[in-house]
């Protein structure tokens, strides 16, 4: 099982800054925009972006929520394992808001499909966009594409993209692992 570094800490940081600027370009002061990190690992991307936008680009207020999609997934009872949930924490309505869904890796698109279904429980958004740090572009099962992408990767199906974060795993790094 070999692994190679796909993105280093420095590269991740540059990409996050670029993504933050792209969000700024489209949403300016974030007055009618909310960011929603998909649990469990999209939340790290969402938190980093929020931090950059607030501290470096002086956006005063950004609504940030965490969305758990476990109960909306389409593979319930299809695997061997019980799907374990994580917390949802969205203390605002998305009704008429521009929502940016944020995840770390876009692979089959099924998580995003579930997230779109889950989002409906919090109102009818005006518009939904998708931001993803890694886009595995040849692996999609559904017609879902990101509006903002960090890095496009042509990983094949028996490869795995693993994203590590300093606050959770000790360092920022993205690996491509050969299974």
């Amino acid at each position: 099982m070999g692994q190679k570094v796909l993105l280093s800490s420095k590269e991740i940081n540059i990409i996050l800054h670029r993504l933050a600027c792209q969000l700024l370009e489209n949403h300016l002061d974030f007055a009618n925009t909310v960011l929603i990190g998909i649990q469990p690992r999209g939340t790290f991307v969402a938190e980093r972006l929020t931090k950059i936008l607030k501290e470096e680009y002086k956006v005063k207020k950004i609504d940030l929520g965490y969305l758990d999609i476990t109960f909306y997934r389409d593979d319930f009872r299809r695997g061997d394992k019980t799907l374990e949930a994580t917390a949802t924490d969205i203390n605002f309505l998305v009704e008429d808001k521009n929502v940016v869904l944020i995840d770390d890796v876009l692979y089959t698109g099924r998580s995003i499909n579930a997230a779109l279904a889950a989002l409906q429980s919090f109102g009818r958004p005006k518009e939904v966009e998708l931001l993803t740090l890694i886009d595995r572009r040849f692996s999609r099962h559904l017609p879902i594409q990101p509006n903002y992408r960090g890095r496009q990767v042509d990983a094949i199906n028996n490869e795995k993209v693993k994203v590590l974060w300093k606050e959770n795993d000790g360092k920022d790094v993205i690996y491509l692992i050969d299974r």
Partner: protein, 308 residues
């Protein structure tokens, strides 16, 4: 990745500590779901559940039904009074007929202890015991412990007294199993006639003086006198029972700490607790009802994920 150690929920006796922990953690997420404006998730959209009630129930049946609907399961309801059971059909036949219509899970309440266990040995579906005679009522005990955990932070190390008719109560037995499993200290309190012999062997202490019990406890779980199960006279009059084992505001005010009051319902106001106690800030009776839906969603979700 964790999952339940059991295929059915027949009683707390068959669960381990990790199972209870997993059910509580899953219930936390469902509690968030049922407090949204849209209280429904699609997890169980391809699961069918039969609610089979051979005994009357309002709260439990409603709570299970809501839990199932909020998980998007299809449900069928069956109550014995309007069924072929009255025409002499056996339990296995009744259930097998229902299962032939492609039902995946059965929630059953039955007057006979062990009815769920018996059924689990003879039919293929996943069984949830919603009360079997004087034996167990596992989801009630889970929601009671969950409510204690919510109010006091943890169940371990807490002093809990169960007051009333311990002899006929499935709620008491399931609660004793659940509380002991989580490391709580348990006392039972009631007239000697309504305390089973050898109850100490379950690791609980017996206290016949209510005031002493209340002074000792952090939580008092008040049970209803189940007149429908009392075949003989266990105490002289209801009035005398109330005088000795009823909780009122005056009694609570005399304690040097504020204890938590629970009741599995239905309440007989003025018998086991007075209205001012039932409606006070110390009472978490309505929280128990709310938590009941979240706990049942968690149990159904976790058991359903094992149906292949």
């Amino acid at each position: 990745m964790s999952e339940l150690s059991v295929k059915h929920l027949l009683g707390i006796k068959y669960l381990n500590k990790k199972d209870i922990q997993l059910i509580f953690e899953t219930a936390d997420h469902f509690k968030e779901v049922i407090n949204r404006s849209i209280k429904k998730v699609p997890s169980l959209r391809d699961i069918t559940i039969a609610n089979i009630f051979f005994e009357n129930s309002t709260r439990t049946k409603l709570s299970f039904e809501l839990a199932e609907k909020r998980l998007s399961a299809d449900i069928v309801n069956f109550s014995a009074s309007q069924s072929s059971v009255n025409k002499g059909e056996t339990l296995i036949d009744t259930v097998n007929n229902i299962l032939s219509m492609k039902v995946d899970m059965v929630v059953m309440r039955h007057p006979n202890p062990g009815a769920g266990i018996f059924l689990s040995k003879h039919v293929g579906a996943s069984i949830i015991n919603a009360g079997d005679g004087a034996h167990e009522h596992p989801t009630q005990a889970l929601l009671d412990s969950y409510s204690i955990r919510e109010k006091l932070g943890d169940v371990a190390g807490k002093n809990v007294v169960i007051v009333g008719d311990i002899l006929h109560s499935r709620v008491a037995l399931s609660n004793i199993f659940a509380l002991k499993l989580q490391g709580a200290n348990v006392k039972v309190c009631g007239p000697k006639t309504l305390l089973p012999k050898h109850i100490e062997s379950l690791g609980v202490e017996v206290e016949t003086n209510l005031k002493n019990a209340l002074n000792w406890c952090d939580v008092a779980n008040m049970l209803r006198i189940q007149n429908e199960r009392l075949d003989i006279s266990y105490f002289p009059t209801t009035r005398e029972y109330t005088q000795q084992f009823g909780v009122n505001k005056k009694l609570l005010n005399e304690l040097d700490k504020e204890i938590v009051i629970m009741h599995p319902g239905p309440i007989n106001r003025g018998v086991e607790i007075t209205s001012d106690v039932a409606d006070s800030d110390q009472s978490i009776i309505l929280n128990q009802v709310e938590n009941g839906v979240a706990i049942r969603m968690a149990v159904i979700y976790l058991l359903a994920s094992k149906i292949k």
